[in-house]
Subunit: 363 residues, 4 copies
């Protein structure tokens, strides 16, 4: 059944797959009067783009966004904004293999089980290619929350394999994107020392024809208290759904997360204090949400990303006819999704916050 729409008030609907003509997103519900150009979208599309550095997949896509509707004289009109990103690198290198065999860790088998047919030219709708549409929607959401309440969403990599970074909570987008040397921070980890080791690890993994997982953290700052609905549509629930809807995400936590499971209440609770007439907390183990509603403190989320499933090395599997076989992915190798995952995750967080901010206006 239909399942390609996210959000209630700020509604994002996507269409498109890896090897068709293109990917489209319709953002319905964006208020009028928000300045918006194709360049605004391009910034995040470029951060998500394949081929942006040596450590990511090398598919050749220019990923140019065309705004088809909803913008007039440089501002949103309140009507739906459609954005089209055409696919360019549609050559599929291993049609025959993907058509006949189930790639381990991939959705080939589950798509067959679900639909009975499958666009076997690539990952189709399960490909990370699909996230190009959401990333464009996320760029619109970022503009909205910046203009509406000065909100900001910043993501970064905190772990690749066993390399763990230390990142201060006030890290800036510039620190995520650029090294002190002025060179691009290709791994998007603002802990410079860890970043170097991450790059090293990814290079090694690539040479091994393997891939590696990791963790990204996303912080949303400036979010007003009161967003999120008490029961099912808690802000934490919708943020978790948003992040889990991204490919390869296998775990999500917020605030102190899983480490709270071993704490006592007296350690875990953050103490309320008043700061210049504003309610705040001394610590932020609650990650900016209490009862599933934003508290005004920074919202802090982490997503665990599994290693890319497609591998150039041989893996055991079966054919559609249930014969044992092996497969070796001949497409571009993506040793680590994390650097490109960061803008995707920021997009989903920004969309969710935009949605709940609009919902709260209808309180």
């Amino acid at each position: 059944m239909a399942g390609s729409t996210f959000g209630t008030a700020f509604r994002v609907t996507t269409a498109g797959e890896s090897h068709g003509p293109g990917n489209v997103v319709i953002v319905d519900g964006c208020p009028p009067g928000i300045p918006l150009t194709e360049e605004d979208l391009q910034v995040d599309l470029d951060r998500r783009r394949p081929g942006q550095s040596k450590i990511v997949t090398q598919r050749k896509e220019s990923d140019r966004a065309e705004i088809l509707s909803g913008v007039f004289e440089g501002k949103t009109t309140g009507t739906p904004i459609a954005v089209l990103v055409r696919n360019e690198d549609q050559k599929s290198r291993d049609y025959a293999d993907i058509a006949e065999k189930y790639r381990p860790g991939h959705a080939d088998y589950t798509f067959d089980a679900k639909f009975g047919v499958r666009d076997y030219r690539g990952g189709g709708r399960s490909s990370a290619r699909e996230t190009v549409a959401r990333t464009a929607a996320g760029a619109i959401a970022k503009k909205l929350i910046a203009q509406a309440f000065g909100g900001e969403v910043v993501g970064y990599v905190t772990a690749v394999g066993d390399v763990i970074a230390k990142v201060p909570s006030d890290v800036t987008l510039a620190q995520v994107e650029t090294l002190p040397s002025g060179e691009p921070n290709v791994v998007r980890c603002p802990d410079v020392e860890a970043a170097a080791r991450m790059v090293e690890l990814i290079e090694k993994v690539r040479k091994d024809q393997d891939s590696i997982g990791g963790v990204a953290e996303i912080v949303a700052r400036g979010v007003p208290a009161g967003l999120g609905e008490p029961v099912f549509d808690k802000l934490k629930s919708d943020l978790a759904k948003a992040l889990f809807s991204l490919p390869a995400v296998v775990g999500v936590e917020y605030g102190a997360g899983f480490s709270l499971a071993t704490m006592r209440g007296s350690e875990a609770n953050d103490v309320f204090v008043a700061n210049d007439g504003v309610v705040t907390t001394e610590t932020n183990r609650h990650g900016g949400m209490l009862g599933g509603i934003s508290s005004g403190m920074p919202i802090v989320l982490r997503a665990a990303v599994k290693p890319t499933s497609s591998l150039p090395r041989e893996q055991r599997t079966i054919t559609k006819d249930l014969e044992a076989t092996t497969i070796r992915t001949r497409g571009r190798h993506d040793p680590c999704l994390l650097p490109r995952f960061v803008p995707m995750a920021e997009a989903m967080v920004a969309i969710t916050i935009a949605d709940h901010w609009l919902r709260q206006r209808a309180r």
Copy 2:
């Protein structure tokens, strides 16, 4: 804005709070012909009930479910099923305190920020009391999935504080509920030795006027391959939303979860094999979902639960007027939510699977 409905095809809408007349749930979309009695609901309501053992909160509620509609001659009719559970123990012990002060870790402040007003007789809509309605809905979902495809959802506690249990994946509900001695397994951990230490820890924490967190694991067996939609409404996304919508949940993972972040693809991928003509995998690090769609393998989820926020010991906080103060919760003390969390979590998982099973029929 409205946010008290979960699901698309199997739609669950709840109303009610801790100190009002009662809690209601409407389950809309349950197919006709499913045998259903009030006793079916009572089983899980009793597992969720306060006062069921010494290690949980002692609020006195008989939690009797009354079916108001949608059932005729012992079977569902296809029309909405409404269930009413009246509140009995409505005495609030600390009106004045909760009305004037923000309990740390609680939703008092965020509700005020959201609504401007608050039912200060208790947690109101943010209270775990609200889950009585979902648990009834979950019992209906369990009946549906059992009848429709022999599906089964079993939850259990795998960690309380630093006591970690080992639980085999084929554990039964009977093992969760009853010790080999025949006595009730009050902590709902099927690792008997760990269960004893958990009870000990909870007793100690209670004496310290404190609380403790933990982890619950939920397994759904017999779920057919093909459930879940490719992009936003992935089965993993909706399951995560479902679990995060429960009070105190601060992290969710499935399959090998966060541990996949440190693995290589060659280790992480589960190998497909054919078993008696059925596609299966040698291992289940993917927790029964690939590309967000069920694979036919058991679905395995874990939720991290923070320690209960309300404490009988004194905690620092502020008043609504931003004055520093202290608060000591005078209501019943709940040293560990985990034993009662298990049926709540099972309910949310069963509801989500029922919803996606119906959605897949409309493919």
Copy 3:
């Protein structure tokens, strides 16, 4: 599939049937701070109640509303409001007949075709009994729009059979409910002369063991310009859906309605004029909506209601086994639904306007 919820921001979900324990409605999304008591609901429930006069059905129901949640200290809290109305007159007089035969004009056959089973004790979910729940929700919506923007919804009967009334557009609720003599206006037609003839016609129809249709008009005043969404969720579309969702409605029009089909544009267009700095129109053939969005002029709708299908006289039909037979409804006879239809229709209009007013706040 689920279909018992109406609205997006002001969401109304109902459950219940004619011969079960009761009917329930959950109103989710009503803002906090609206004064609300059970008496507020009772006014419209009494206007909808069977047995209120000699010309309507005589089922004995006191229709007492119990608010189960969402109200604290006499005001809404922003959380879902659940209302329960128990059924009392549950005796079904013709079980055997309804179970075995398809009543003409009724939903017996289509329910069987849909669900395979049917609660044959009465109309079940297709009974007008179900509207008791929506009428309670409508009373809440009326309170909201009155408090939010001074909005008011008034309905009345403009035709019963071939008796056509003339009703000025500024008619008051008092004129609808009470005759100049001070007696109740049992037919809810403010044209006193027509009202008398309508009553006469209904009495005659009842003696003939027959029923008669008619038309009701509903006016919403004080609705601000700008409500309704441009394309699918036009205000006119949602109002039409709202009215068609009521039993027996077979046609809906707004403004000059079907008579516009024979007009020329130069006659049909209403001329804009400025009135004390407010945009208004000289005439209101557009019924308060342009492009599906409210214009600030009164919203004027009409619904055609077919004659009640259940008749005490013998009618030809077939059994479930497709045998020709006859049926004579032995339950209470309802010669004309129109007087009781008025509050139902007002409720649906008020709910739709409340919903779109909240949606517009999230613009």
Copy 4:
């Protein structure tokens, strides 16, 4: 708030306006395996196209549909189908006028009241141009219902002004589209004699620089019994919403419609009879729906369409600054929308039936 999506299981989301780059539709939820080509869409786009005959508006649009996703090897895959139709004739002839003045009968004022800004290059999102996207979606829905259950939707004009046609209920698409002479039936009225008089009337109205309204009837045949949900999402409710969401629709009725208001129950009820083991009715005053659920009889709907608001003759109105003025639309003149309305209405009916057919599968 967002309002550009229609349907639950077969979900149609549109974006685009009259003078932007193009119009897009995403159809989410179409099952896999339905044969679909761009030519399939083109048939209905050509029937809706401006400039197709002398009696409709002359805007120059080739209206070529490009399928961007969801189709592989000539069949749907089950993933969202995106269709793009670029705008070509984007020249707006009366920018200054539309920007400054409110066209009578148009949505200029209500858009300003709603959004505060407006794309004044034309009707923007309120333009009939937007229906190009839905018509493409309707073509997909028609393919689905034809393949799924042999369903067919045929529309035609039954009245233009006071010219009323007589159309037998088994009329074919060929009769609607082509005159016995083999020439195109430009007015889409299968009553040949009435059609000639309609064309004459429209020509006269055009010379008068005026416009004229009318009525279209839409019949859906082969729809299985059981579609539609009992309460809010009745099939009649959703069909009414669907038709009212089209521009210029001011009234909708089904079956005997408004004429039922003057009937008695004994006249109005259709008698059930068994026909070759199939439940049917002797007459079809119920228009194929009982209790809002399809009965298996043909579904028959009528929509009243008001005369086009834009007129080349001078009309009184006001400016945005509330000054009295006059306006004369300089764009292409559309003397009668009805011929082009037919495929739009068919599309909305087909989409609604497709949606409810899928919903019923999830029963």
